[in-house]
């Protein structure tokens, strides 16, 4: 049992690290690139159609021809791992652009208007209001991109990329079932870890969005549980002693 694994721990470790490195760049790049595309898509209907349809079309490009064409297009060498990174970024953007367009469109219009009315500049409003509020939908999109990118990295073995995909092809060629299984399990593990990290990042970056939190706090603190009314005492003006509760945080 596990003879192959025990003998090849170093190989598995090296391939896993490589796999992770190959996946991270396209995931980050497609996130970053999709934001301006999503912004464009929300300018008008024509641009929206261009971004969404363009994304779908990109996604239908078969990966093998893309690997072949890319070196010609971007002047890399055929076995350069940059080819894989660029190809995966293209697929990532294809999916993520649509998510970003939807995410930005999901932001409550009244909130956006309110922020304009109190004096946000258009750029400031985009960065500090629209983008964070689009966060939950962006997060859902990038989770999909992360998982699919990690799966697609394996395809890169065709163009000589050293990653966990090597374990499937090599294992299959040599008839070592254990090697194939380890390859699959490790890819799943990498995908799972990425997903957990993304979700945790979302929690940290979007604390207002934590499910359940609002309910718990409310139950604990609101002064007027019977009517659900305000926690403010009836005579509206609080005196200093009351008002000081919980202060000193500034």
């Amino acid at each position: 049992m596990l003879d192959w694994t025990r003998a090849n721990l170093d190989l598995v470790r090296e391939l896993t690290i490589n796999h992770v490195q190959l996946a991270i760049v396209p995931i980050l790049a497609s996130f970053v690139l999709s934001i301006p595309l999503g912004w464009l898509a929300n300018r008008n209907r024509v641009l929206r159609a261009v971004v969404i349809t363009g994304g779908s079309l990109l996604y239908t490009i078969p990966s093998l021809p893309l690997f072949v064409i890319l070196p010609i297009l971007i002047g890399t060498r055929v076995l350069d791992s940059l080819n894989l990174v660029v190809a995966l970024t293209i697929y990532g953007v294809a999916v993520m652009a649509r998510s970003a367009a939807d995410a930005l469109a999901s932001v409550d219009r009244t909130t956006v208007e309110a922020s304009t009315a109190i004096g946000y500049s258009p750029f400031g409003r985009f960065v500090r209001v629209e983008l964070p509020l689009a966060g939950p939908v962006l997060l859902a999109g990038i989770r999909v991109v992360a998982v699919s990118t990690i799966a697609l990295v394996s395809v890169g073995v065709i163009i000589g990329s050293q990653n966990l995909g090597y374990l499937f092809s090599n294992g299959k060629q040599r008839g070592i079932l254990e090697e194939v299984v380890v390859g699959i399990l490790m890819s799943l593990l990498v995908a799972l870890v990425f997903d957990v990290v993304i979700v945790l990042l979302g929690r940290v970056l979007m604390p207002w969005n934590r499910p359940g939190r609002a309910g718990r706090k409310r139950a604990g603190l609101v002064a007027d549980p019977a009517t659900g009314g305000p926690a403010v005492p009836a005579p509206p003006k609080l005196d200093k002693a009351d008002a000081g509760v919980g202060g000193g945080d500034a």
């Binding site: 909130t111 922020s115 004096g119 979007m206 009314g229």
Partner: protein
Amino acid sequence: MIEFESVSKRFDDGTMAVEDFSLVLPSRQTTVFVGSSGCGKTTLLRMVNRMVEPTSGRVLIDGEDVAGRDKVQLRRSIGYVLQAAGLLPHRKVVDNVATVPVLTGTAKAKAREAAYELLDTVGLDRALGKRYPAQLSGGQQQRVGVARALASDPNILLMDEPFGAVDPLVRADLQVELRRLQQDLGKTVVFVTHDIDEAFLLADQVVILKKGGVVAQAGSPAEILAAPADDFVASFVGADRGKRTLHLRDGDGGGKGRTIVVDGDGRPIGVLADGPADGAR
């Protein structure tokens, strides 16, 4: 002082929201636009901070045409309270209040400190400052909205049905408090409502609007009650239904009783005191 000079607004779809509207809103006074839905109140209000641009005419603040001011700077210099509070859901209450000072370059720590003081001012417990808006009741959110509008210490405060979405008891609280704030702070307040009682309670100047922003009557609550300009106004303020008509009746109790005041239906609503009201303005 805010002046509307024959202002009209036609929206892109052809709707004539406001037609040839002229009015002076004195400094440090509360002017209330009141009228039924769709008569152009919000449109008028939003022309002051250039959220809506007039099709013709001018809006002046202290003699200066707002059209010549930078939009973003103008909006930062004017407090704006919206119906649904319009708070940023991803910012803690204290940061919501501190928004505009931070935008204009005040250090964050300093802006927060000031924000906590504003929570006192609007009667909110400082502990609420660390919550997110969704964790507050509607009335509390409205108070935060007011605090945020006050944060840059603006001369002008625009309030668009700020208490429309809260229950009547809380609304009464908020109205009383706004009056107190206004007495302390002396802002030029432009307030929009379709509740005539709220208008009479808060206004120095009441502007009763008809469709298209046509002024049916503008004046102090006393002037409007004493002499409604026409049947529309009389019916709008409820004078025609006897709603505002009060009568005096001698109380029972064998001559010892005080004079009581009854409404149009004969229901007692108060007693008559000697001498003039000390709060008279």
